[in-house]
Amino acid sequence: MKMHHIFLWVFLAVLLYIGPGTTFDHRIAHDFPFGLLASDAFQHQIRAEFIKDQDHYRIEAPYTVTGEEGIIGYYQPILYHLSVLWHHVSGLPVYDLEYLVIFVFAIISIMLIYDLIRHWNQNIAYLSIPFMLLFFSGNSLIGFRWGHWPAMLAGAFLLTLIWALPLLFEKGGFVVIAILMSSLIMSHGSEFVFGIFIILAFVAWHFYHSTTWKERAGITKPLIFAVLLTLLIAGYSFIILQKVWLAAYPYEFKFLPKDEGFGPTVNLLWWMLVILFAAIILGLTTLKKKIPWPFVASVAFLVFGYLNIVGFGVRAFTMRFWWPIMLSILAGFLLYFVTQYFTKRFAFFSLWICILVSGFILGVYWNNVPIQGLMDKEHWDTFTYVAQNTPENAKVFFLYNPLYQQDALLRNVKRFHVRANEADFVGKLKNGTVSRYYEAKKPGDWGPGLPFRTGPFSFDTRWEELWNTRNTVQDLCAYDVVILDIGGDPQLQTLYQYQAAIGQAMIQHPWIQPVYNNKANVVLLNSKPGEECIAEAAA
């Protein structure tokens, strides 16, 4: 085994350790979905779970789309299928493998970018690595923890596309490009648009480097074949992308200077921008006609991250998650330029710099820690109990808990469900009123508007007729299952006592029985939904 191979294994081990290893508390399988910090993460977790249960992805789970049947499986499918199939082969939990898949593919794509830089200049490749390590730190981790999962997987395919584009000049290389472009369409549509931009950048770079028009035109045939093959492979998904997603979210120019509503993203301080521009100017002036493709791709990614100011809105912010990887090329180039006197004279100088700076960055800036996330064992056990022990058409009522604001996690009961709204519930708590009527939200993934198929190439949506039914007053007694929160957070004791009082009132009736309880919840089963189950009274 060569030194370089050993280095690659060490690099892989470090990335795995600081990324998924630490995020998952150095375990692969957990007793419940671990490390998910936002509703979106649970949206993807439960979708994979449903696809596993029904063994295909023709439709969305009714319990994820407010109880509606026949909603087509509209999300880009690759992430879910990878997770479910990996589960079937390994026997490990789907929710763990889905999270692991995006980390692993991100890491492989990072190693491909390292390989791409290395073919340009090994020293620059070594000097880029310390900056790449920032990928598993700070706001870049938001992409993983807050559930930008399909976008992160698509980003990994996008980086692979950057590596693979030179294969267009090899016989059969267009097949690789077509597979990767298809994977972008079928993992997250907005990255497909950036894939097109990257290809345009590559074509421009090829034109710049070519000396004859015949040479320039040489890229045309493989590109055309790649486009045709992409349409063949991903045509079905592309139709859904175009007719469902683009119909619901058409492009509109939106000047979005800050990451409002998106959540944290990676931001560059002014002096970082100065350094990057210095690297770009240095590259343009010193490399001239020999500007390598990795350099161009790095500049392209810097531009992508700022497309929020010309209408790309939040999609530009997703590209920024990859800045530690792609901008490391410029940073590594600049560092090489500054140290080349030593690099050219001392063997392994850049490798030693890499190790030292990496150690510094890991010691000072790396801040990933295992975080359990929103789910806990007790709530997971409760949801699992309901999913496994109630009729499929059972309706579930969740009383209020601040945790349930991230309501995608409630879909793990795998039943139609509503959850009490905070204002009304807390209002009644303060009044001391135990009621059978509470304002409740019908949570669900409204996504592209609950689309259903009306023909081979046509779709309609249900959101217009259903949107106003999201928040209505609901009758607790009409539900088959009522889930009470009775413990867990010391600061919510008043809430737990109120819910216990509701539960006490309900079980006065013999047809309502507590069927499950743990430290967090009590599950009440109502065998006569519709019958009076609570008389309005003081708590």
Partner: protein, 129 residues
């Protein structure tokens, strides 16, 4: 079709692939040290079956690529193809739980491409009389 291409590739690289799989197990073990060893094996070997082995064959067509590049690219391409084919098969033909042998289909596809690869070696010419 030149099936020797396939056997030559396997003879030349099988040990390297085995070392890649062994390396995967080792780095997984180091990274996920709180995981029981059976979990490490299940994750690593299933990863090898789904992504490393099919990827090795799929990228076998491109002789000019280094072995490292082929393994890395192969994992990504295998991920893409497994996801894509699993989706379409699941929609109409074969439930996902029955698709465990899908990687084998990708291996055969890759082997076919390798066998169909145009020969780059010059053929022996009989001397003209």
């Amino acid at each position: 079709m030149n099936y020797n291409n396939i056997t030559e590739m396997i003879k030349k690289e099988i040990l390297s692939v085995a070392l890649v799989i062994l390396g995967t197990i080792i780095v997984t073990y180091i990274t996920f040290y709180n995981e029981p060893f059976t979990g490490i094996l299940r994750a690593s070997l299933s990863f090898a079956w789904l992504f490393i082995l099919p990827g090795w064959f799929i990228t076998g067509y491109f002789e000019k690529l280094t072995f490292t590049a082929r393994i890395l690219l192969g994992i990504m391409l295998s991920g893409a193809l497994v996801g894509i084919f699993s989706y379409y098969l699941g929609l109409w033909i074969l439930p996902i739980s029955k698709q465990i042998l899908l990687p084998l289909a990708l291996i055969l596809l890759g082997a076919f491409a390798i066998a169909a690869r145009p020969s780059t070696a010059t053929e022996y010419q009989l001397p003209s009389i």
